[in-house]
Amino acid sequence: MNETDRRSFIKQSAGAMAAVALLPELGLARPVRLREPVTVGVIGAGRQGRAILGELQKMEGVAIRAICDIDERRLEAGVRRSQGAEGFADYRAMLDKRADVKAVVIATPTHLHRDIALAALAAGRHVYCETPLAHTVEDCQAMARAARASSGVFHAGLHGRSNPVYKLAWTFFRSEAVRDPVAMRAQSNRKNSWRTPAPDPARDREFNWRLDPAVSLGLAGEQGTQQFDVFHWYLGAYPVRARGGGSIRLHADGREVYDTVHCGLDFESGLHLHYEATLASTYGGEYEVLHGTNASMWLAWTHGWMFKESDAPTQGWEVYANRQRFHNDQGITLIAEATKLAAQGKLQEGIGLPNSPLYYALGDFLRSVSEGAPVVCGADEGARASIVGILANRAVVTGGTVEIDPALLRGG
């Protein structure tokens, strides 16, 4: 074996070694190809509904047969995007008329999820519901109860749990690589108004439900629920207390819902998660950071990095991993499908996810429907994360502290 071959062998073996340890836990970033075709109906053809339609169309074995939206223009655009799909203005008519639709994806405003999910479950359909599941604790619990009573699949769209980068990071978190968690923080920064132009001023409240304090969960609930859940999942624990506050920093247009919020979630172990979200700055975008005694992890949905402490034990494989410099720190890129990439000699390229996190969440749901794969994120997990989001928003709105009664998270 010459020097080049030897280096290549070591590199590939090293990549494989790391991935072999990870493989049993990983769904991998493989494309969705269903063994048994699934017919799908999508309820809600707004921003998220459009994204869902786009992801479903990339999958093999998925037939979009029905689309539902109360807005005529959005419905028409959705139907145009999906050959062979029938449009409905009322989800009940869709459930009644299209018995061939086996799986329903719910992407309506949060406060409308409950009735639709309950009707779909009652009609014997498999359900994927975006999170937060609902805007009240009672509705979340009602959805979890209905899902438990149903024989169908209920998948709560907490995208981190299906994300191959996050799954890979989770395996590191559970190993000695990170060791004891020390501190946690997350942010969701963007710069937009959170307003949607309604076709008719009389329908403004309907379109701008995120700015309606009566139903909106604000940034902490609408954005934070997904991000908080990453920590719930990794720690296997939920917070016991939420503190928060917020203000309007940029969009002083008469709104009441804050455009900038901060909140802190306390865990029983003494760990603390600090969260910030704003509609007034894009800096840093959306990410979660978890500091451990051996390493810290920075997760940014399509990419992830691990930063080792200088006194952490060397595991071998990371010597060959792709690295990126961040000021004084050097991050090891967490790459999904490391084995395959190592075999192709691409492990050094540091590429991100080949598809959006939404794609993998929908893929997990459809594999459960088509192949009976275990549900990756069920209604109970969805309800717990949503309740935390609801109570975090309550803390932000009141500017105070909200105790999170563990009994609320037990279901019932």
Binding site: R47, R50, A51, L53, G54, Q57, K58, R73, R80, R81, S82, Q83, N192, S193, R195, T196, P197, P199, H251, D253, G254, I351, L353, P354, N355, S356, Y359
Partner: protein, 292 residues
Amino acid sequence: MGTRFEVVLWGGDAPRLLAVAEAALERVCELERRYSRFRADSVLSFVNAHAGERAVGVDADTFELLAACARVWRESDGAFDPTVGPLMRAWGFHGEPGDTAAAAACVGMDGVLLDEGARTVRFTRPGASLDLGGIAKGQALDEAAAIVREAGVACGLLHGGTSTVVAIGAPPGEAGWVVEVRGSPYRVALRDRAMSVSEPSGRVVERDGRRLGHVLDPRSGAPVDGASLACVVGESAMETDAWSTALLVLGARPPRMPGQLTTLLPQQGGAWAVEGPDERLFWRSDAGGRAG
């Protein structure tokens, strides 16, 4: 698309106008995610990865975009060709040069089968791939402008990278949005019109000690010195975007170019020719005021 898009809207309700502009730009971002060849998760990457093996089903909007590509390819006698990417790379326009003969064998929109009934796309040439960079920006601006109009905003200007612009209505008291065609002595007043300007870009290629043109002719597979600038005005930015690219190769209006498009092209000896139904919208800025 990898370029800056801007939206200027005029009206009385600033928060609503901001929301409309955001929705328009969000649509642009959505289309960028769908049609970028640099994104592994785009619809275009999916088509490029699989259409060589099987007919790939696409949504109605994507099919219409591909059908528009095929139409302009036909009408321009192949001067606009979204399959030209492998040849561009082989000539060294985007990095290290490669085998141009092998690349030429992959190129040609006639190797892209579009089945309207089944709404599928399939490549019949091995190694073929699509790059929608010459048309997707225009389509994105058309769709963004449609969102603005549907929201009831009657006055606005949208542009992508300053090379394609869509005018909605006109500023109060004006005949149109006045846009300078940089690189020419002309200005144009646009009202409910789109305009695209193409200029040769990228590095000059040297082969055998010769400096070759900036523009690649997909038909011959070799660089040409086409027009130094091509400007097209019409109703659809998708059309003007694609046609300005084609005219850069052709250097002159081809016989089958749609009559509703107006062109501004350089002529021999430093002269310029404006031709088409919107000829009156153009005037020379160096001629002491607006004409027409």
